[in-house]
């Protein structure tokens, strides 16, 4: 078998490798067709002037779509709104998710009930839940709007509308955060907590000095997943405000240009820019914070 360094693989090893490639091939082909090609196609579209209302004007125009989008106030407004929603909702989700994770993990009585209840929002279709929130905040019909002073219509004002979008987003995805964090909690050995309390740590010190550092990989993975997801926020906004009063996210802008405006060039440019931003976020997490798949550290 081992015939020295640099030696070609044996026949058996080569056959095994070939078999491996064949076995991977169907999945790889599906991936390329389903995700690879649309990405390439979007990039190609973004380099063209291509408005379905004026199909005869179609032309290759290089990066000028990018110049248009990146100098547009609408785009930057959507970008900052998206960033605001992302940062605030993920921050709130992290804190709430941690509390829920502890509740689910530590519960002695009714553990199954608590876990089920916590997970309910995650099991509801986002659009359905968003309509629930919308009606709740609509004056006259909504029970939440009824709690507000007479005459207020929160979904028609920018600040309150963004707050409601964040609320809907937090309500919907905190369970997911809690699940990921609970998996991280389960990795911390119980005996370390006992050791720390004998060593003189208070409850808070046990959390900050033992639990948190050991959960770091899980926390970073949860943050990465949720940040990427939140940056692409679409359905909640689509239902609640449809991006009016400057509450649209970048995904809403791309959608409006692509589907509403039929401007394939500009819409695709926005999609590519979202992809680039999301990729930057992922790279920052992976390189900057050393995020790894759960368990691959150590």
């Amino acid at each position: 078998m081992n015939r020295g360094k640099g030696r070609a693989l044996t026949e058996g090893q080569r056959a095994e490798r070939r078999l491996g490639l064949w076995l991977c091939a169907p999945a790889a082909i599906v991936m390329v067709v389903v995700t690879g090609w649309p990405i390439v196609y979007s990039v190609l579209l973004s380099l063209q002037r291509y408005d379905l209302r004026f199909p005869e004007d179609k032309a290759w125009i290089g990066l000028s779509n990018y110049a248009t989008v990146l100098t547009s106030e609408v785009w930057w407004n959507a970008f900052w709104v998206t960033l605001l929603i992302t940062v605030v909702s993920v921050a709130i989700e992290l804190v709430l998710g941690m509390l829920l994770a502890f509740a689910m993990y530590r519960a002695i009585v009714g553990r199954g009930l608590i876990r089920t209840v916590v997970l309910i929002p995650y099991g509801i279709v986002t659009v359905a839940a968003a309509y629930g929130w919308k009606y709740a905040w609509t004056p006259g019909t909504g029970w939440l709007a009824g709690l507000l002073p007479e005459g207020s219509a929160p979904l028609t004002e920018r600040g309150p509308a963004i707050a409601i979008i964040i609320l809907a987003e937090v309500w919907k995805t905190t369970p997911f955060m809690a699940l990921l964090l609970m998996a991280g909690l389960a990795v911390v050995p119980e005996e370390l907590m006992r050791a720390a309390s004998v060593d003189g740590a208070t409850l808070w010190q046990r959390f900050t000095r033992v639990t948190l550092p050991l959960m770091k990989p899980a926390i970073l993975v949860a943050l990465l997943f949720r940040t990427l997801d939140a940056f692409r926020i679409f359905d909640n906004i689509y239902v609640l405000t449809n991006g009016s009063q400057g509450t649209g996210s970048v995904s809403i802008s791309a959608y409006h240009n692509l589907i509403g405006g039929l401007n394939l060039g500009i819409g695709s440019t926005m999609s590519v820019l979202i992809l680039v931003t999301v990729a930057i976020i992922a790279v920052v997490f992976i390189l900057g914070f050393g995020t790894a798949a759960p368990g691959s550290e150590r």
Partner: protein
């Protein structure tokens, strides 16, 4: 350093199970006490109650006369070593050892000095900047010890600290723990299921079973004077031989011959509550090859065929199967005594290496009849020790 008193301590869980029942022991300052027993006997629960990791249902825990029941573990000033070592994987050895000091807000200079001293005592100096994952099992165990001794606590609590080590390292660490404790003089409570560890380490041993203390005493006393069949079977390796025996006029009929009832044996069976059928116990060490015994007074003899012979070096262990049923008693099964199901009564004799006993050959054994213990078949009480 401290005196620890467990004053009729009981641990009862919400579902009514009693893990520890009326545990009443006074552990003197500087003393090294072992809690030993089979798994589930309540020894770890007792240790956790001392540490404050489990609540005490009834009774009182006092350290230097002060009640501890309601105090949080961190306010008890005790250090604990866990079976899994419970090292913080994200901290270096230095940070691990310094952790309790850091929590106590000790000054930097003193902290460093103490860590260095503990590391020196435990030969950990070269590893101070490594993470636990980069250490061997023995080194991890020493870091756990370091984290305990660095605080100079009132007491050390050790929960099976050597169970995860291989046999050779375990023996090594056993002696170093013993030496360390003697040097530091810190009151120590040590939990183990291993009777050898219990015998070699402790000033005193507390033998537990099903939440109840069976006997408390120095190792030799437990060995020489077991209070009941459970203790007799638990202490000593190989275990004490147990044989069915019957009391007849003036003598004791056993599968290894009749033993005249004289002296202590006579006194043991004098009570009115002694049944005719009893259990006789005799340690493997009480046997000898009859050919090597010159002064055979006060002994019995027995001839049997050797099933198996183990040469241990300083001694030989000869195994016999007696043509009588094995003794069945609830007091034995939990003691870890080897009980071959369905087999005949096993007998082990420890012989001098000069013995000519050979496998498959009959050999004549002498045994010391004065070393025989008699146990009550139901209660397991040692009739010869009451």
């Amino acid at each position: 350093m401290a005196e620890i008193v467990l004053d009729h301590v009981t641990k009862r869980y919400a579902d009514g199970t009693v893990a520890v029942d009326d545990f009443d022991v006074r552990i003197a300052d500087h003393e090294f006490v072992i809690l030993v027993g089979p798994s589930g006997c309540g020894k770890s629960t007792t240790l956790n109650m001392i540490a404050g990791l489990e609540d005490i249902t009834e009774g009182e825990l006092r350290v230097d006369g002060r009640r501890m029941n309601e105090r949080a573990p961190r306010d008890r000033d005790m250090a604990m070593v866990f079976q899994s070592y419970a090292l913080y994987p994200h901290m270096t050895v230095r940070e691990n050892i310094a952790f309790p000091l850091k929590l106590a807000k000790m000054g930097r200079a003193e902290m460093e000095e103490r860590v260095e001293r503990a590391a020196g005592l435990l030969d950990l100096a070269p590893y101070l900047d490594r993470k636990p994952a980069a250490l061997s099992g023995g080194q991890r165990q020493r870091v756990a010890m370091g984290r305990a001794i660095v605080r100079d606590p009132k007491a050390f609590l050790m929960d099976e600290p050597l169970s995860n080590l291989d046999a050779k390292l375990r023996v090594q660490m056993r002696t170093s723990i013993s030496r360390l404790q003697k040097n530091l003089g810190t009151t120590t409570v040590y939990v183990t299921h291993d009777q050898t560890e219990a015998m070699t380490l402790g000033d005193r041993i507390v033998i537990m079973r099903a939440g109840l203390i069976q006997q408390i005493g120095p190792p030799q006393e437990l060995y020489d004077h077991p209070r009941n069949l459970f203790v007799a079977g638990f202490i000593g390796s190989p275990s004490m031989n147990v044989l069915p025996a019957r009391l007849e006029e003036g003598r004791l009929r056993t599968p290894i011959g009749d033993i005249p009832l004289r002296g202590r044996l006579r006194r043991a069976v004098e009570g009115p509550d002694v049944p005719r059928d009893v259990i006789a116990g005799i340690r493997p060490e009480s046997f000898e090859d009859a050919a090597l015994v010159h002064d055979a007074d006060g002994g019995g003899t027995f001839t049997g065929t050797v099933d198996l012979l183990e040469s241990m070096g300083p001694e030989k262990l000869a195994y016999f199967t007696l043509d009588t049923g094995a003794v069945r008693s609830e007091h034995l099964t939990e003691a870890g005594g080897e009980e071959e199901a369905g087999e005949g009564c096993q007998l082990v004799a420890q012989l001098d290496p000069k013995s000519g006993a050979r496998r498959g050959q009959p050999v004549r054994l002498w045994y010391d009849t004065q070393a025989v213990h008699l146990f009550h078949p139901e209660t397991g009480e040692n009739l010869t020790e009451r």
